[in-house]
């Protein structure tokens, strides 16, 4: 079967167009600026996080600490600026570095001590939530200054909210790193076959380490943008977002076992989930039904990506070795 490089993203884009057309027909309110700007925020946040979280995923691991780390990052940046009076740019830089270091620590345990990523990052999710509670005294803190910081999330450029640009820059950078650089190739190789990667001169441990570091750094960026937009920080500010990010990744064609993935696909996945939920709202479907729909979409996307809904395609992952006679 012939596979064009962009096929996955193009397919997603087409599905998205169909979805938009359907929603436009169903509800005239869908394609209005006020409605779309409701949708956009969650897409931006998930897009920023996914641009980092995709790396551990492609190496075959997972980062479940995103929600706690994003909230902690908001609390930290507020603390640096408003408790210690540090310049907002330096405060953001500091926060991103801390996010990267926490990611590095996760990566260290996964790569060197060989603990499953699922366990390591779930533990991180828990203790980072605790750290966030301690640092914030368990309170919800409002951020009212400095002005330039608030403008990051709330300002507009060419009549579009700033977070869109931040998200697009992150996604493009991440996609470039993944698809066009030696590092990205190595990440893919480690996820596809660690032994073969090793024999090709790649050090899987350091690739893993860097993957979790990227995830931590991108999450910190997301947390900073979230804090600026909502102008408030608290330990549970982003709880559960890791599941939304994983959903976007799966729908976007990132393999659940590693070795394959696309940041642009994840963004389209995030947009799709946001549209579906928005559509359900517009159609007045009660909120309890939303997770049922989202969950079903994940399963459908998985089946599609594994080739079950596409006629005749061999699943290369399940092919087993032919034993010699």
């Amino acid at each position: 079967m012939k596979r064009k490089p962009l096929m996955n993203e193009v397919r997603l884009g087409l599905v998205l167009l169909v979805l938009m057309a359907a929603l436009t027909i169903i509800s005239p309110r869908f394609l209005t600026l006020s409605n779309l700007s409701n949708v956009i925020w969650s897409v931006c946040f998930i897009g920023i996080l996914a641009s980092g979280a995709i790396y551990p995923r492609i190496t075959g691991g997972i980062d479940l600490s995103l929600g706690s780390l994003a909230a902690l990052s908001g609390i930290l940046v507020d603390m640096f600026m408003n408790r210690y009076g540090i310049n907002w740019i330096i405060a953001i830089a500091l926060t991103v570095v801390i996010g990267a270091v926490i990611g590095l620590f996760n990566g260290f345990i996964v790569a060197k001590i060989k603990v499953p990523a699922f366990v390591v990052t779930m533990a991180a999710k828990t203790y980072l939530y605790g750290v966030a509670l301690v640092v914030s005294n368990g309170a919800m803190l409002a951020i009212l200054k400095p002005k330039p910081f608030i403008a990051i999330g709330t300002g507009r450029l060419f009549n579009l909210p700033n977070p869109i640009y931040i998200m697009l820059v992150m996604v493009v950078l991440s996609q470039f790193l993944l698809k066009k650089t030696a590092f990205g190739r190595k990440v893919m190789a480690v996820g596809a076959n660690e032994v073969a990667a090793k024999l090709s001169g790649i050090d899987p441990d350091s690739i893993r380490l860097l993957s979790y570091m990227l995830s931590g750094a991108a999450t910190a960026v997301g947390g900073v943008v979230l804090a600026s937009l909502t102008q408030q920080v608290f330990a549970a500010a982003a709880s559960g977002v890791e599941l939304e990010v994983m959903t976007a990744l799966v729908i976007g064609g990132t393999s659940p076992v590693g070795g394959k993935g696309s940041v642009v696909g994840a963004l389209l996945g995030a947009v799709m989930v946001a549209f579906i939920i928005n559509g359900l709202n517009l159609m007045n479907v009660p909120a309890p039904y939303h997770p049922i729909v989202t969950g079903s979409v994940i399963i459908l996307a998985l089946l599609m990506n594994e080739g079950y809904l596409v006629p005749k395609k061999r699943n290369v992952l399940s092919g087993h070795r032919q034993a010699a006679a």
Partner: protein
């Protein structure tokens, strides 16, 4: 029909035919095992041993032929479970035991003694039963030992007890000694004798002639899917078995290979006293420019471990290496940068990125050239992939094809291509043609010879004897981690290699 009296034949296979979509792997094979005998099944790789075992144990079906076990005719297709219930047991190395459970739990897995009228396991009784079994055979085991904490040899004993407790009458042991120490092997032999004295038949499969010789009551020799001979006890000798395994293939085809003189060429790799404890010891040789150095030996003789150490994957304990005249400490990274390549055995597990395209598979070993500053030059990458595909004639010649969807031969060609597009000086090749069709095999042979003609040095590890004799300029034979024989400037035959690998050394080998 079950009316006949208990004959002394336990297992009788007649006219067994098996083909896997085309090529016939078993052609009209007769095979029988008597009650209480140790029967060895021997043959080269590809002779059909594994397939015959798979048919007997129910792991695969047969196309035609009859199997009678214990007086009962078996259907063309049956499950492993069914075979097990009849008393056919296979002793796996370690695969079938559950690591986190105890010896007793493993022995009685899914057959645990229960408290009456409940589904609750009577653990005390289970441990007592396990202890009884252990005492009966005097095995160094405790019912409460965790599988995690016992040696491979002990795990084998657990497998044997598991089979015995399931009332096995035929025990199949496939290369059971390949990871055992000498004393463990002796213990296993004693156990086999005990089993025999209890009337249990043992079907023994091994490449090690001295074991076959020491243990067997009878030996069945297979060659190219056909039955060659059944030797009775007094006819068995290692040399005779080897003669039958190889047959007259070489004499008939007259392809005796005269290994040419290699003196006067520049040395590329000089290895001195290389030792890795438990793997290989005191390995010394010099590899010259444009030379194909074959490394022969039985599975487990240290061949793969040696090339892995030379390429820099595994460390070694002692010895020195010189590469291109300079002292050399191998690491995978340094090897690749310095013109050394490596084609691993088991391409699916170690060689390919199945979920990725041919372009990516070739690209990943060449990132140093394609992305000198970190960013991959896509056009150059594609060009490299096209070059590679053209060099080795991959089908289909589509750089965007997923490697996992290619045939085995084409997968191996891709693995070869990613090195051929580099400027190689030396390449290690381990079992390059396992599971590959004849056509692709010939093509790969052509590439290996062409490499040598271009001045690239090749170290070729292979269990395929004709492959070794045909491609090599010189052959080293490893046995138990040591070089025990070097063939150079002589007539080389498969038989000579196998005799040396089996430890049968004679004065007149230097013919």
């Amino acid at each position: 029909m079950k009316t006949e009296h208990k004959s002394d034949i336990l297992l009788e296979c007649r006219h067994i035919v098996k083909s896997y979509n085309g090529p016939i792997v078993l052609d009209d094979v007769d095979f029988s095992v008597k009650r209480g005998e140790v029967h060895s099944l021997v043959g080269e790789n590809g002779a059909g041993k594994s397939t015959l075992i798979k048919i007997i144990t129910g792991a695969t079906d047969r196309n035609s032929g009859d199997i009678v076990f214990n007086g009962q005719a078996l259907p063309l297709q049956y499950s492993r479970k069914f075979a097990e219930s009849l008393g056919i047991a296979v002793i796996y190395q370690e695969l079938s035991l559950i690591p986190g459970m105890t010896v007793a739990q493993n022995i009685f897995l899914s057959r645990e003694p229960l408290y009456p009228r409940t589904r609750i396991i009577n653990k005390k009784k289970m441990n007592v039963m396990a202890q009884e079994l252990i005492d009966r055979y005097n095995f160094p085991l405790k019912p409460n030992d965790l599988i995690d904490n016992i040696s491979i040899a002990q795990r084998q004993l657990v497998e044997i007890l598991k089979a015995l407790s399931g009332n096995a009458s035929l025990m199949i042991m496939d290369e059971p000694t390949s990871s055992l120490t000498r004393t463990e092997v002796e213990m296993l032999f004693k156990i086999i004798h005990t089993l025999k004295s209890e009337g249990i038949s043992v079907l023994y499969i091994s490449h090690r002639m001295e074991e076959v010789y020491a243990l067997s009551d009878r030996v069945t020799v297979l060659r190219d899917g056909k039955l060659v001979s059944v030797l009775e006890k007094e006819q068995i000798s290692p040399a005779e078995i080897i003669r039958l395994m190889i047959g007259h293939r070489l004499e008939e085809n007259a392809v005796h290979h005269h290994l040419p003189k290699i003196e006067g060429r520049k040395p590329v790799l000089e290895v001195e006293g290389l030792t890795s404890v438990g793997k290989f010891a005191d390995i010394s040789f010099t590899l010259h420019e444009g030379e194909v150095l074959g490394i022969g030996g039985l599975v487990g003789s240290g061949r793969t471990e040696l090339v892995r150490a030379l390429y820099g994957i595994d460390p070694y304990d002692k010895g020195s290496i010189r590469y291109l005249g300079k002292p050399w400490v191998p690491s995978v990274h340094a090897s690749i940068r310095s013109g050394i390549g490596f084609i691993p055995e088991e391409r699916r597990i170690q060689g390919i990125l199945a979920t990725q395209t041919i372009t990516r598979n070739i690209g990943v070993t060449n990132l140093d050239r394609l992305a000198p500053r970190g960013v991959v030059k896509s056009r150059q990458e594609k060009q490299l992939a096209m070059d590679g595909i053209r060099l080795v004639n991959v089908k289909p010649p589509d750089p965007e094809h997923l490697v996992g969807n290619l045939s085995g031969g084409n997968q191996q060609k891709v693995v070869l291509a990613k090195w051929l597009v580099r400027n190689l000086k030396l390449i290690f090749i381990d079992e390059p043609t396992v599971g590959i069709d004849i056509g692709a095999k010939e093509e790969i042979y052509g590439h290996i010879r062409a490499l040598a003609e271009q001045g690239v040095s090749v170290i070729l590890v292979s269990s395929d004897l004709p492959e070794l004799t045909r491609l090599s300029d010189r052959v080293l034979i490893l046995r138990k981690g040591r070089i025990i024989k070097e063939f150079k400037e002589c007539v080389l035959t498969s038989e000579k290699i196998l005799r040396a690998a089996s430890g049968i050394l004679e004065e007149d080998d230097e013919a």
